[in-house]
């Protein structure tokens, strides 16, 4: 009994420590963003609770930087990327899970290759390619979005995840559907797809998080400020406000709000579905 209490007490102390390290940097950012101009943000000892809580930094940052536009752009990129990923990954995963055909081994090999090669290795030729295809924002809004989205419209991770999901479905269901006169596309659309909804949700969530935080590629292809996504805009803001840390902190907090809501609303999926595709392989 005593040992058990001691063990859980120790666990709590350890976990509180880790939690402080994990969310402490964000809390300190919030604390800074809530401090007014009259308060010294460099005060020693640090003032964790602002003496006068004010929202003027949030208003100031919001008024000087087009956050609404950034959020809309990020949302467009994320939604379209998610839809394309779900569609293409579940289409490609079906034959890989169920059918025998020439070149199947090559398909797996190709997908593994894409997972191993870092994006930075191909980004230069990829950038030249998007220029050649006119997929940059100087050719218009749609070209700009296409250039941001298409290189990420399908991922090997997504295909492997969906394949795993298809493999878990008993084949008898498809046999029954064939006897009922379904063709292959109908089996895919009407029998299999409804059964893999949890995996689709997992894939959608991880695509969203990846997309929402993506910085490098948009920062390379984007030239117009109206097209900026949140991370690119936030990096721009950092330079724009130079060392006005109250505004930088407020801007960073504003940019976190959408993903924070998303994460807290769907936390079960993060805690539950994380490794569906990864560990089993």
């Amino acid at each position: 009994m005593f040992r058990k209490i001691f063990k859980s007490l120790f666990s709590h102390i350890f976990l509180v420590f880790v939690t402080i390290i994990s969310i402490g940097p964000f809390l300190w950012l919030i604390s800074t963003a809530l401090k007014s101009k009259n308060e010294n943000i460099f005060a020693y000892p640090p003032q964790f609770i602002p003496s006068h809580i004010t929202f003027e930094n949030f208003v100031g940052a919001w008024n000087q930087v087009p956050f609404a536009g950034y959020i809309i752009n990020s949302t467009i990129v994320a939604v379209v990327t998610i839809i394309l990923n779900l569609l293409f990954a579940s289409l490609a995963a079906y034959p890989l899970a169920r059918m025998e055909f020439k070149g199947k081994d090559w398909c797996f090999f190709a997908m593994l290759a894409t997972m191993m090669v870092p994006f930075q290795v191909i980004m230069i030729p990829l950038y030249l390619l998007t220029l050649r295809l006119n997929l940059v924002d100087s050719y218009g809004v749609i070209s700009g979005f296409a250039g941001m989205i298409l290189p990420f419209a399908v991922s090997a991770f997504g295909i492997l995840l969906m394949r795993q999901a298809f493999l878990a479905i008993p084949k008898e269901l498809e046999e029954a559907a064939i006897i009922d006169g379904c063709n292959v596309f109908q089996i895919w659309a009407k029998v299999l797809m409804p059964l893999v909804k949890p995996s689709l949700a997992t894939l959608a969530i991880f695509t969203f998080v990846g997309c929402w935080g993506e910085f490098l590629w948009p920062s390379i292809v984007l030239t117009k400020q109206e097209m900026f996504t949140l991370p690119v805009g936030l990096n721009y803001l950092q330079g724009f406000f130079s060392s006005n840390w109250r505004f930088i902190a407020a801007g960073a907090i504003i940019s976190v709000v959408p993903i924070l809501i998303f994460f807290l609303a769907l936390q079960k999926y993060f805690v539950g579905g994380q490794t569906q595709g990864a560990v089993k392989g």
Binding site: P25, P118, V121, V184, V209, L234, A249, F263
Partner: protein, 290 residues
């Protein structure tokens, strides 16, 4: 079920077509082109590059800065990967208990994973500020202020700390998923044998988690070699290139100096290294698992 009797031969390719088309256009074309670009010299005329064979590679291997970035990348690997393999494992074991507030702990520890790395970089830059909160704690301990991001001796370790901090939750979840598959009766058996807590984990947990540990070491070593945004937001590779990694060097040469050929050569070298490391890792795991 036998699909080959039921559907036409071209059907599988129809399903694969959109994904394969995208992979070919936006991955394999650039991938193979990077070898070609790495043999061009863009220095004189960016629109009409000159073919120089392996010239860029010779220049690369002669460049002291390139070797410095290689060394920095190696430091990144050697410091970040062990931390990312061990720390999340310990956290996962502790979090894998029925405790009060356990969900709160898990969510909080996972939070840095979902937040954009740009935000994380900004948050840490603020902690690392010269008169910032970390230096306050340092001064409390009676030491002089540390130039976390401004002292060439510390900058790369400060950036590594952010990478590790942001990865903790991700790898914790991988371990947690694996931990739930460890049979509970093994722990009971160990209890009966009179094993203490540490012995139990060494004898039961670790052997069961070997596949997960291998997975985490592969993922974390590949991602340690790809680190970019932390550096971009916090140090830009400085001071004095002390936090410049290979990937950052590629970016700087390619998109700031527009030396596309040289940058591509650097990318090809990095890719060969990563593939070598991956194959080595996979071999090792196969050897252990089979």
């Amino acid at each position: 079920m036998d699909y080959s009797r039921y559907c036409k031969k071209y059907i599988p390719y129809l399903f694969l077509a959109p994904a394969l088309l995208l992979l070919v256009v936006f991955f394999f074309l650039p991938f193979f082109e990077s070898f070609y670009i790495s043999m061009l010299d863009y220095a004189n005329d960016i629109y009409h590059p000159e073919f120089i064979g392996l010239g860029n590679y010779f220049m690369l291997f002669k460049s002291a800065l390139f070797w410095k970035t290689m060394l920095n990348t190696l430091i990144y690997l050697v410091v970040a990967v062990p931390l990312l393999v061990v720390l999340p494992l310990i956290i996962a074991v502790v979090v894998n208990q029925k405790l009060k507030f356990i969900n709160f702990y898990r969510i909080s520890i996972y939070l840095p994973v979902v937040v954009s790395i740009v935000v994380a970089g900004i948050a840490w830059k603020w902690l690392y500020a010269d008169n910032g909160i970390l230096n306050y704690f340092v001064s409390l301990l009676g030491f002089n202020k540390i130039g976390w991001l401004t002292d060439p001796a510390y900058s790369i370790y400060s950036v590594i700390a952010v990478t590790v901090w942001k990865g903790l939750g991700y790898y914790m979840m991988i371990y947690l998923a694996a931990l739930t598959s460890v049979p509970a009766d093994l722990y009971e058996a160990a209890d009966i044998d009179g094993a203490n807590l540490l012995q139990k984990h060494l004898a039961v947990t670790i052997p069961h988690l070997l596949p997960a540990i291998a997975l985490v070491s592969i993922i974390s070593s590949i991602s340690a070699m790809k680190v970019f945004v932390e550096i971009y937001v916090m140090t830009q590779g400085g001071p004095l290139n002390s936090s410049m990694t290979v990937v950052y060097y590629i970016y700087q040469k390619g998109f700031e100096n527009l030396d596309l050929g040289y940058a591509s050569a650097c990318g090809v070298v990095l890719m060969l290294i990563i593939m070598f490391v991956s194959v080595l890792n996979i071999k090792k795991i196969e050897g252990r698992a089979l």
